[in-house]
Amino acid sequence: MTDMTARRVAIVGVGYSQVGRHTGRSERHHAAQAAVAALADAGLEAADVDGATTWGGDAIDFAWMLGMGPLRWHLNVGVSPAFVTPAVHAAMAVASGACEVSMAFRLMMQQPSSAAIAAGGSALQAPSLVDAQFMWPFGDFSPTQWAGLLMNRYLHDSDATEEHFAQFAVTQREYALRNEDALQRKPLSVEDYLAAPYISKPLRLLDCDYPCDSGSAVIFTTEERARDLRQRPVFVEASALSAVRDMNFELLPDMTRTSPAHCAEVLWSRTDLGPADVDCAQLYDGFSVITFQWLEALGLCEPGAAGPFIAEGNTRLDGSLPLNTDGGATNVGRRHGANFCIEATRQLRGQSGDRQVPDAEVAVWANAVGPFSGAMLLTSG
């Protein structure tokens, strides 16, 4: 391993809150449920945790609420590539010796619906209001809209068709039928996908992840400490973050090869493993075109070929590269990337039940697209 880090780091605990639609529970409540679940999974006490980071809420607030030990390291993450940012930082904090046991959180509360926004009284947020003024007067408010722009350009640049996107949605749902924690568990057909309404044509409803309230937590510690804990350790082989421009997705120079292409180069430069070693991939699907970009960026299929690759069945459980084996965020709900880390971990532990990839030893998970992204390569040994 040619990572920049000093100490070898393992994931030892993962946990979710009681995820659902409009749960009525607060962000703190979801954080507490996720943390308690992760601690129980690891066999650790709250007092053992001496590092915390989150996107959503406040790491110090969560740590105090949960009775964690005095923190030797903490970090609140702002707008960034989803859960992978707190995860990479939590791993680096352990690797560097800044702390011994770190917990990474992502809290994601359900956003107001389009109907509520259109009626007034609710508004979407923007990373920069100064920049949003160059989008909003044109009626460009929602991430679904930049996703429509990326998807149209991708359809133009690649071999993909809308039927390939339908096949992707169907394959994801097949996994969800094998996952009792998924929120979407009705069988789905290609016809169902094509009958779903456009949000930002060519982007349809079923190209979008499923809004919900969720809390996710993942615990990292040293290899040495991990050996004494409850679960089989899952090791961080390599990780990478990337940013290639500011937060204006609409103005990306190349909408098809975006930050993931750069991120993948960095990731593979930090390990002796390569795309052919990957037993399963867990790739962000906030919008389905993002997963297509990641498959190509990571070299898991040929450039421009993600559509045919999926349609040929390669990403099914019996295919050459099982993909998003929990059903993806389109089906388990918007956990903003954390589900990909947690599912990769469970696959490498052999805990994925009906959707277990046999003998999975190497898993890659990745988040985000466009201006920024991040990825982590995990191994079982």
């Binding site: 259109a118 003024q133 160059f134 044109f138 949000i199």
Partner: protein, 144 residues
């Protein structure tokens, strides 16, 4: 009581970008340009990312460009746009510089006829007494 008409989202009062909107009000497409190295910059920034000069000023551009991508909005995300469904968002690459893109609307064409790579030119649409925006139309007599 008369129904209150929704108003469009307004630009910020921002000294760095006011020129863009006052230009549109006068029917001119103005883009920030570095006076030291000539690089066009959009969105406006306090510094040139090509040469780090702070000597930046708005300049009028041709308004000619090529359609880089587009999408058709079917769900409204603001009260003003509820009655304007569906409408086309467009990313236009201006002819002055490679990768010099603006986000705007594409008008005067139906979605099935739109082609990435088609030539477009700027026009101006008054959304309210207080706001005029630059929009793009297919260039006359030029099919993609």
């Amino acid at each position: 009581m008369p129904m209150e008409q929704p108003t469009p989202p307004m630009p910020l009062a921002d000294p760095l970008s006011d020129f863009f909107w006052s230009g549109a009000e006068q029917g001119r497409l103005l883009i920030q340009r570095c006076q030291a190295c000539g690089t066009f910059i959009h969105l406006p920034r306090p510094v040139c990312r090509a040469c780090r000069s702070f000597d930046l000023a708005p300049e009028e551009v041709s308004g000619r460009g090529v359609l880089y991508s587009f999408s058709e909005t079917h769900k409204p995300f603001h009260p003003f746009f509820v009655d304007r469904m569906p409408y086309l968002l467009a990313v236009v690459e201006l002819e002055e510089q490679r990768d010099l893109r603006v986000l705007s609307n594409l008008v005067g064409i139906a979605e099935p006829d739109v082609r990435i790579g088609m030539d477009v030119h700027v026009d101006f649409e008054r959304l309210s007494p207080d706001l005029t925006i630059p929009v793009f139309r297919p260039a006359a007599g030029k099919a993609a």
